[in-house]
Symmetry: C2
Subunit: 382 residues, 2 copies
């Protein structure tokens, strides 16, 4: 049994996905062992996690600056995200970081041939071509953690042919039936109150603008090698059907569950096995009477349209999309712009970008930096 314990590094361990990953590890101490932890801001929580799981490998930015006294004593090495991601003692790297910060670690893990449980969308969106190429070259395995991509992955299990069509479901967010005028008045508090999922702040705002769904379309294109024309978005407010796959013969498979991120997290960790976990909720068909579906409103939610266009255009456009959205969401959360201005800022940044075809990592990071600067210029110039 000892040989089958999977050694995990969780990058972003204090965020929502990181904490839920540790919940799964707690439930199966004979299946999983935490050997690496990494977090950005929440030093207190990281310290408690280090005390509990006693990882040998730790990353924390302030610890690196202020020395070891910022963290509890222990037998661990302080390393960079990339060093943990490629460390020989790690079997599975859980990329639960937020925004562009996970890109370097994802690439390091993929180049080291690791199993990479990917919850952070931006690495694949920004550098999907590079990451999937390096994964194939180095025998790395990308294990989707997002509920939608986990659903697609589960539906493709055992199939001998690729998907004919992917149907990505979207809750539609809290403002699904708002008028344009109502959307102008949306506050950060309203936007952070997602109807079906508990998530981090950035992804919750992205869900409200439908930017999140657009990033997922681009992610699906790279994870499952399906052209954009064969990826459809369908609004499904109950968040029970997490996505669907249509096959060449017209048969469709769907994956359903209670909206609880621990289910796709656990599947990514336990794959190809499934583990009976009494802490995970089960669907109760005596209470589910109707599952509804409707097309997304691309006019009202232009972030979805912008993301799909950026994905189709390729090059460094997706990196600019991610970076400008990341800055715009921060500006909205700090009440410096309105909810509807997020899409406007992203669009104006994309319009001004000169993309590079088949960019390398440095060109992608340069586009990221350019876009962040550009959004700030747009704001200060008005």
């Amino acid at each position: 049994m000892g040989d089958t314990v999977k050694r995990l590094a969780v990058l972003g361990s204090t965020g929502s996905i990181g904490q839920q990953t540790l919940d799964i590890v707690r439930a199966f101490p004979h299946k999983f062992r935490i050997v690496g932890l990494a977090a950005g801001r929440n030093t207190d929580l990281l310290a408690r996690q280090v005390a509990e799981f006693k990882p040998g490998l730790v990353y924390h930015p302030s610890a690196a600056e202020r020395g070891r006294e910022a963290l509890p004593p222990g037998e661990y090495k302080l390393l960079s995200l990339e060093e943990i991601a490629r460390h020989p003692e790690v079997d599975v790297v859980v990329i639960a970081t937020s925004g562009a910060v996970g890109l370097g670690a994802t690439l390091a893990a993929v180049k080291a041939g690791k199993k990479v449980a990917l919850s952070n969308k931006e690495p694949l969106v920004m550098a999907g071509e590079i990451i999937t190429r390096e994964a194939a070259l180095n025998g790395a395995q990308l294990l989707p953690v997002d509920s939608e991509h986990s659903a697609i992955w589960q539906c493709l299990s055992g199939e001998t042919q690729p998907a004919a069509q992917i149907i990505l479901t979207a809750s539609g967010g809290p403002f699904r039936h708002y008028s344009p005028a109502q959307l102008e008045e949306v506050t950060p508090e309203q936007a952070l109150n997602h109807p079906s999922w508990r998530m981090g702040k950035k992804v919750t705002i992205d869900s409200a603008t439908l930017m999140n769904k657009g990033l997922e379309v681009i992610e699906a294109r790279w994870l499952f090698n399906v052209p954009f024309d064969d990826i459809k978005v369908l609004v499904h407010p109950q968040s029970i059907v997490h996505s669907m796959v249509e096959f060449a013969d017209g048969s469709v498979k769907a994956q359903l569950s209670h909206p609880d991120m621990r289910i796709p997290i656990q599947y990514a960790l336990s794959y190809p096995e499934r583990l009976a976990n009494p802490r995970l909720p089960r669907l109760d068909w005596s209470t589910i009477t109707s599952l509804t579906f409707e097309p997304p409103d691309l006019g009202l939610f232009s972030c979805l349209r912008l993301a799909i266009e950026a994905g189709r255009s390729g090059g460094t456009f997706p990196a600019v999309l991610c970076a400008s959205d990341e800055v715009a969401v921060e500006l909205f959360l700090s009440r410096r712009i309105r909810f509807v201005d997020i899409a406007g800022l992203v669009e104006r940044t994309l319009e001004r970008h000169r993309s590079i075809v088949h960019p390398g990592l440095e060109e992608i990071m340069a586009a990221d930096t350019w876009a962040r600067e550009r959004v700030k210029q747009l704001i200060t110039k008005g």
Copy 2:
């Protein structure tokens, strides 16, 4: 490519499933070849099928009695159903017969280690223990053709563990919301008018009484080795979700399609491949706005309850269930009993039956004969 042509025998080729199987064969002449055909009553259609597909092996009861002049000339042998089912030139035996008649052929095919595409429910219901044991012993493969069992089979594809729960969906039939008084007035014409599926007469009546769903529960128990406690029936009037499987981790997979039997027939024939077939309909998500679910009314539709009870009791009870239902449905179609009397006759026959534990084939056939006689006695005695 020549080596990969699958050689098919279609038993029950003039029935609904048989004709649709031939439609699939017509669409893929380089994938499938008809080497055997068998039909009961419809001699004219069988003659046309023989002229078109030129099978080497044919069964027809009247041809056997009246000699070859009853069928068009050709280079075929007249054989019994069992002889065709185990013939060395046959790779896949499609059991598209109706009622108990398919049992002998199914057993012959399984003992000969064939791939057996099974649409006829009664063989597995009557003799599931024998058929699954012989299939395992002889390396035969049971390929479900029923839309529900095909759905479950597709959902289990690639999974390393058995289902934790099977959710069999049911359209609910045309009388889903009828009152007991309304149900008493149902005519054969009304019962033959199924809301979503085009099928043969026997299975259409069984769908209206929900007996069909009960037979499917027993079938699922044998096909997927899942205990009765873990098989649930859920009414889904749109007939788009064809069934679902819940796994140990709370994740559920569903298979969906337009209600068209050619989709599961083609999957059984092409498995593990899927074939792009432009003649098959695809789901149109711009028209599907709601999928609804409700529990079945076991009080009103007592055939479902009777079937599950007979399945749990095992022995020769399921054979008595099938035989008494087959006779009762014929009596209803010939207007000798009312719709609601079908369940009553089945129940009274089951009550009087003395079951045998782990019966052999002869004991099963004896129970079948006993039940048919018993129903007729009940009718004549009133």
